[in-house]
């Protein structure tokens, strides 16, 4: 086997944290090599080092047998390495052609840019108007623009950082097809993921990282998914789901009737949407990002007033968060972006936990000792590590941050829970904890609405499952009647009878 890429003894630490601890990696020419690991295992850091975005403390890199030490992406690109990031790094305010030009195609004049793009798409198909602004394109196309741009540069090694996170099942298939075409030409693809199924589908070999260390490299045919999972988390993982069968749902807690939302440019974000979430059930809404999740979540949170239609909580108008006295209504809100919307990231945990509906201030004064004690017991109850009320969330892992959000929101004993992508970015263990927690709420007779872009999650935890596509909601149906392939189609807007279903 000839190694196209060889990284040896890579060490990189950020302050106290060691992101890569003596990691070595070999990539053969013409293979799809998966880099598997939980969040924070050091996958992206390792690839950023290969791509020159991060400078390693120690270690050597060879590409095609030649030693390289990329100080910036320009060096890496010269060496034949291209990287597409999880959140596509294309400039939103510029057009597709301008983004190609930024990468060095054409001399920058508008005519030469269009010409260069026309040249490229002759060999690598890209079905998009080169004059379109990037931020008018869906995520999948932005990613495609970035991949095509890398390929146009003639890269020998293409690094894809969790590329499937923003794609529908159908688009994932297309991406895999593209990856196969790339390796057929003798180039290599390094595919970062934490999804085992994807490794089995597309990769020939897989390297597992755990806590910044290389646990081992395997031929995909020689190892089962269960063994890979064990390698990844370092312990055996039970398949159990704590969630029992749904009980009969009770009265409607949250009701949306004919809700429409219109964007700043007059575009339709939500189109005549009806939704009912009852006590004792979990309603899960699937969909690819950007199909109306944000406005729907904001409306259910009470952050946005629908442009028409009504939103009811227990048959009364849902209070807006800016309304005086909204906090008397027990709704738990678990926002998508916990760092920016869910937490005061640099304030101690006890302060974070105190910002709930149930402030206990006497005559406007905070009883700090009482608050800290309350925080400690909440942190222990929700299994936050470390359960120290004095540390700030920024010092915690994503999973523990999310547990803090849950602890705060659930401490008020809400009867309605609205959660957006509640397990995004969490490792498998933390995902299980969060989902179990939501299931327990349902069993306790609460109404739970989950809006998620993770189809597996939606199917696992939803009692009823709906799909949001371009602002239209396919009416949620019982989970056991769900057809996976059909949902995938609905997410991509490929259902022929979409119209009929929405009206039914």
């Amino acid at each position: 086997m000839t190694a196209l890429v060889k990284m040896s003894g890579i060490v990189k630490s950020f302050g106290e944290t060691i992101a890569n601890d003596d990691v070595s990696l070999e990539i053969a020419a013409g293979e799809v090599h998966a880099l598997l690991g939980e969040n924070g295992a050091g996958k992206t850091t390792l690839m950023n080092i290969l791509y020159g975005l991060t400078i390693p403390d120690e270690g050597t890199i060879e590409v095609g047998g030649v030693a390289v030490a990329p100080r910036n992406p320009a060096d890496a690109i010269d060496a034949g390495v291209g990287m597409v990031h999880q959140h596509p790094l294309v400039v939103g305010a510029l057009t597709v052609a301008e983004n190609f030009s930024l990468g060095g195609l054409g001399d920058g004049s508008p005519a030469s840019m269009l010409e260069a793009v026309a040249d490229v798409v002759q060999t690598i198909p890209l079905e998009v108007d080169p004059r379109a602004r990037i931020d008018s394109l869906p995520m999948s196309l932005r990613q495609r623009v970035e991949i095509v741009r890398c390929l146009a540069h003639g890269v020998r090694v293409l690094v894809l950082d969790e590329p499937t996170a923003v794609l529908t099942p159908n688009e994932v298939q297309q991406l895999f097809g593209e990856m196969e075409r790339v390796v057929e030409q003798g180039r290599s693809v390094i595919f970062i993921t934490h999804k085992l199924a994807e490794v089995q589908t597309i990769a020939q070999r897989v390297t597992v990282l755990r806590h910044g260390r290389n646990v081992g490299s395997f031929a995909v045919g020689d190892i089962t998914s269960a063994e890979l999972a064990e390698q990844m988390v370092g312990r055996e993982l039970s398949d159990r789901s704590a969630k029992g069968a749904p009980r009969a749902a009770g009265a409607a807690r949250l009701e949306l009737r004919g809700v429409c939302a219109v964007g700043d440019d007059g575009e339709c974000l939500l189109d005549n949407l009806d939704l009912e979430v009852c006590a004792g059930e979990i309603v899960a809404i699937a969909g690819v990002e950007g199909n109306g999740q944000r406005p729907l979540a904001d409306i259910c949170f009470g952050l946005r007033v629908p442009d028409s239609g009504e939103v009811l909580h227990d048959d009364e108008r849902l209070p807006q968060l800016r309304d005086w006295g909204h906090s008397k209504v027990a709704i738990a809100r678990i926002p998508e972006d916990r760092r920016h919307e869910g937490l005061l990231i640099d304030s101690p945990l006890w302060e974070n936990l105190r910002y709930g509906p149930n402030l206990s201030a006497k005559r406007g004064l905070i009883n700090r000792r009482h608050e800290v004690a309350r925080a400690r017991s909440l942190l222990e109850e929700f299994g936050v590590v470390p359960p120290d009320p004095m540390v700030a969330p920024s010092a915690l892992s994503g999973g523990n941050q999310q547990k803090v959000v849950l602890a705060r929101e659930l401490s008020s004993d809400p009867d309605l829970v609205v959660a957006v992508n509640p397990t995004r970015g969490l490792d498998i263990g933390a995902q299980r904890d969060v989902r179990d927690r939501l299931a327990a709420l349902r069993d306790a007779g609460r109404a739970v609405l989950v809006i998620s872009t993770d189809l597996d999650e939606v199917i696992e935890i939803g009692d009823r499952v709906g799909v949001l596509y371009r602002g239209r909601l396919e009416t949620p149906i019982a989970q056991n009647a769900v057809d996976r392939a059909r949902i995938g189609k609905a997410m991509a807007g490929l259902l022929d009878d979409q119209q009929d279903r929405a009206e039914a």
């Binding site: 950020f14 992406p73 320009a74 890496a76 400039v91 510029l94 930024l102 001399d107 920058g108 004049s109």
Partner: protein, 310 residues
């Protein structure tokens, strides 16, 4: 009322408007480069002041106005370099640094004036005088209004054109605008973000400095403390009103020049208007126009955000 009519219809009002708009425009042009590259440079005022001071010093020492221009530009670019080091290399807060530079320049120039020249006053120096453009200067109305200006006006117009072309029509400009939208994305494409931002900052210093040079060598022919008089701040508003376009900066700056010229005329006329109100007019106009425009503007996405790669 007829007095007011006379003021508004006199060609000399428009000539004054252009003269007064010029330093604002030059500073705004420089700021457009900086902001397009993602840098907020609040230090325009200090750069203008240092430019004006350097110009007077250079012109006084060498006796040559051209040497004055060179020294003035050098001084302003040095101030820009401080801003560059702090905001580009060290990831410092751009606004704080800019404010510090403004205050610093005010103090440094006032000190140097007293340290260098006897009596604590800068002398009259050689400068550039207005001249008539052949043929055009005799045209009715516009001749007086436009074609009897100094060399700086024509230089500024050429700079506006070149800047527009460079920013909007070349690969260099595209990359620079990219740095203002998403520096990480640009970096990942192999674009040297730091270098481009340095270029933008130095261009900004030179342009703002040229504005100061004009104040010193094109108008006053000497230096007085704080002679930039807040024009650097008005220029910040002009950039936004012009939507970060070098060409739109021309009419936007002219608007403020016209307001200031008008205020001056009214003060020296028989009209019974409180002079304090007229002095405040340019700043009032800034706030009002800014308030109308700002809600609809669309700044570079990474504007003012610290970007330092690990």
């Amino acid at each position: 009322m007829s007095d007011l009519f006379d003021i508004v219809t006199s060609a000399t009002l428009y000539a004054a408007a252009i003269r007064l708009a010029l330093p604002i425009f030059l500073a705004a042009l420089g700021e457009t480069f900086a902001e397009r590259a993602g840098l907020v440079n609040v230090g325009l005022e200090g750069m203008m002041l240092m430019g004006a001071f350097g110009a007077v010093l250079g012109s006084d020492v060498t006796g040559s106005a051209l040497a004055g221009v060179a020294i003035g530009l050098l001084f302003a670019v040095l101030v820009a370099a401080i801003q560059g080091f702090v905001s580009i290399n060290f990831g410092g807060d751009q606004i704080v640094c800019g404010i510090a530079l403004n205050i610093g320049a005010l103090g440094v120039t006032a000190f140097l004036v007293r340290a260098i020249w006897e009596g604590g006053n800068a002398p009259q120096v050689a400068g550039f005088s207005a001249f008539d453009l052949p043929l055009l200067a005799n045209a009715p109305f516009v001749g007086v209004a436009v074609f009897q200006q100094g060399i700086f006006v024509y230089v500024a117009l050429v700079l506006a054109l070149i800047s527009w072309w460079a920013l909007m029509k070349t690969g260099w400009g595209l990359r620079m605008r990219g740095c203002g939208e998403d520096p990480l994305a640009c970096e990942s494409l192999g674009i040297p973000v730091k270098r481009l931002r340095w270029q933008a900052m130095l261009i900004c210093g030179a342009c703002a400095g040229l504005g100061g040079v004009f104040l010193a060598l094109g108008q006053l022919l000497t230096f007085s403390d704080g002679m930039s008089g807040g024009r650097g701040f008005i220029a910040l508003a002009v950039v936004i009103i012009a939507r970060w376009s070098p060409m739109l900066a021309v009419p936007s700056a002219l608007l403020f020049g016209a307001v200031e010229a008008f205020a001056l005329r009214v003060q020296s006329s028989d009209l019974n208007v409180p002079p304090e109100l007229m002095l405040a007019l340019p700043y009032l106009a800034t706030i009002i126009v800014y308030a109308i425009v700002v809600g609809r503007s669309n700044p570079p996405a990474a504007l003012g955000r610290t970007y330092v790669r690990q």
